[in-house]
Symmetry: C2
Subunit: 306 residues, 2 copies
């Protein structure tokens, strides 16, 4: 039994109102794998990096018990590179430069030792590559979670729709839910998207929390009101990793566990934004996570006797 | 013991993507009074209307046990008039025309029979008039709630700041909290605003719910995800009325009751947007309210054993 996480690994240049960093580790997979590792000790990465990728970072993944048998290192090539600048509100950003590099010809090879996969997170990547990963698993995992973004709706919508058909859970943000469905109301958007394949839909609303839709049920998870958002990069990937990591730990898929998974994912994401890149989620203590989750409980609990 | 609600009463022309209505009853006080009346039977209105205001509407207020001794009818004049058009997203609107009419010289006379006031809602109105109402009460109410809007921040900021000093609870939306404090982070905004006078701050976020701040505590109330918002006019006023009506009913002011009051206010507001104007909140059954509140409970509850 294991949890496979496939996604991009990047070296990012990031500028926020708080500062500027260069060649910091980013991409979907590092955030998601690290987040998941706090709940589950059989996290296996499928990804590709270039020769410029710091070995020290890979050592940290190993220290988190992340299996790197599926990590391809193209020594002669450069890692995927993303450069972006956040606006003052931290909710919007401009992509300044994208260098696909190793991602351009990435073939997601699944090591034999990964074939015991029960949980699969398709973190942000081309829908075509996500689909290939699903097809290379000899046994269909118990749960497939797909995280994607508006970029793929713009450039590879048909591939994305085909991939969405194959998964159990889709996580996107509110603008993406509207784009994908053509509906402004998130309730109507969710109804349409749930007909496209997934059983569960998570709509991430950043500082406004997240909505989980399943059949006729809805769960609204709060976001922790934060005084400072230092760097939002990777918050969505961290959410997805924490979410599936928690589910892999509890093992049973039902609405009750899904709700808790959304809260754990949100708690991990609230740590992520406190520092640049993966800095904060590389160094979490389980007591800190428990305390943060308790903050979510306190934040949203009320007691009405009707 | 009673609950005084002072606010505008209007005849509105409203255009939404769903249709257009003319001379429909609006303004802050009708929404707030009707909402409060479902929780508390000693609601007393202070407001002014012109001779053109439908007597049938006043009869409905009376049927809701709303005391109209403080309602001035200027038979020779015209009621306050507002005309607005909602955009397709229903979150933004244009004011097409405002006719102050009777509001221009409104002097908020407090009848002697109102001097037993324990709860006071200053629904949306000029800050100067709100202040006058406070000063005319011989005994300071147990709880004063102030609802206001960006318009007064633009044209009467100093008056507004003086009024804010005198109240216990301030309710504004997120954009207004940012405008009033000059802080983008709502946590920082709340800290600043709580230093301006009120003990409690409610930041309304429309479809994203509401945040209640008090000292170091925060409560995040969800909004009911709605398939259709028919007419958002008056949702904030309805929230404020439901909020203070519930508190007047339970009588005791503490964070626990405040949280529940936010949920009841949100529940009433979720009915308000289902029809044009006050149409929906004129005709609520207590079973419907209990059911709607239960939806809020279901929507936001989760159970984590840490």
């Amino acid at each position: 039994m294991s949890l496979i996480i496939i996604g991009s690994v990047a070296l990012d240049d990031i500028e926020t109102p708080f500062g500027k960093v260069e060649k910091i580790v980013g991409g979907a997979a590092p955030f998601a794998c690290l987040a998941a590792s706090y709940f589950y000790d059989k996290v296996k990465i499928v990804a590709i990096v270039g020769g410029d990728f710091p070995k020290s970072e890979i050592d940290i993944w190993k220290a988190h018990q992340i299996d790197i048998a599926g990590l391809q290192i193209a020594e002669e090539e450069k890692s995927f590179h993303w450069s972006g600048k956040y606006h003052i509100d931290m909710n919007s950003r401009d992509t300044l430069k994208t260098g696909l590099n190793v991602l351009e010809s990435f073939d997601p090879i699944i090591p034999d030792s990964y074939q015991d996969c029960e949980f699969l997170l398709l973190a942000n990547l081309t829908p075509q590559t996500q689909q290939t990963a699903i097809k290379r698993l000899q046994k269909r995992p118990k749960l497939i979670v797909l995280d994607t973004m508006n970029f793929w709706m713009d450039v590879a919508l048909n591939d994305l729709i085909e991939t969405i058909k194959l998964v159990d859970v889709l996580t996107i943000n509110d603008a993406e839910a509207r784009q994908l469905s053509g509906e402004y109301s998130l309730v109507k958007a969710a109804k349409k998207i749930l007909k496209m394949g997934p059983n569960y839909l998570i709509i991430k609303k950043g500082e406004h929390g997240a909505l989980l839709f399943h059949e006729e049920q809805v769960f609204s998870a709060p976001a922790l009101p934060l005084a400072e958002v230092f760097d939002p990069t990777g918050a969505g990937d961290t959410f997805a990793g924490g979410f599936i990591g928690y589910l892999a730990k509890v093992g049973t898929i039902n609405f009750h566990n899904m709700k808790n998974a959304v809260v754990y994912g949100s708690a991990l994401a609230s740590f992520c934004v406190e520092k640049f890149g993966t800095e904060r989620i590389k160094n979490l203590k389980s007591a800190e996570i428990a305390e943060r989750v308790q903050e979510f409980v306190n934040l949203s609990s009320f007691n009405i006797e009707n």
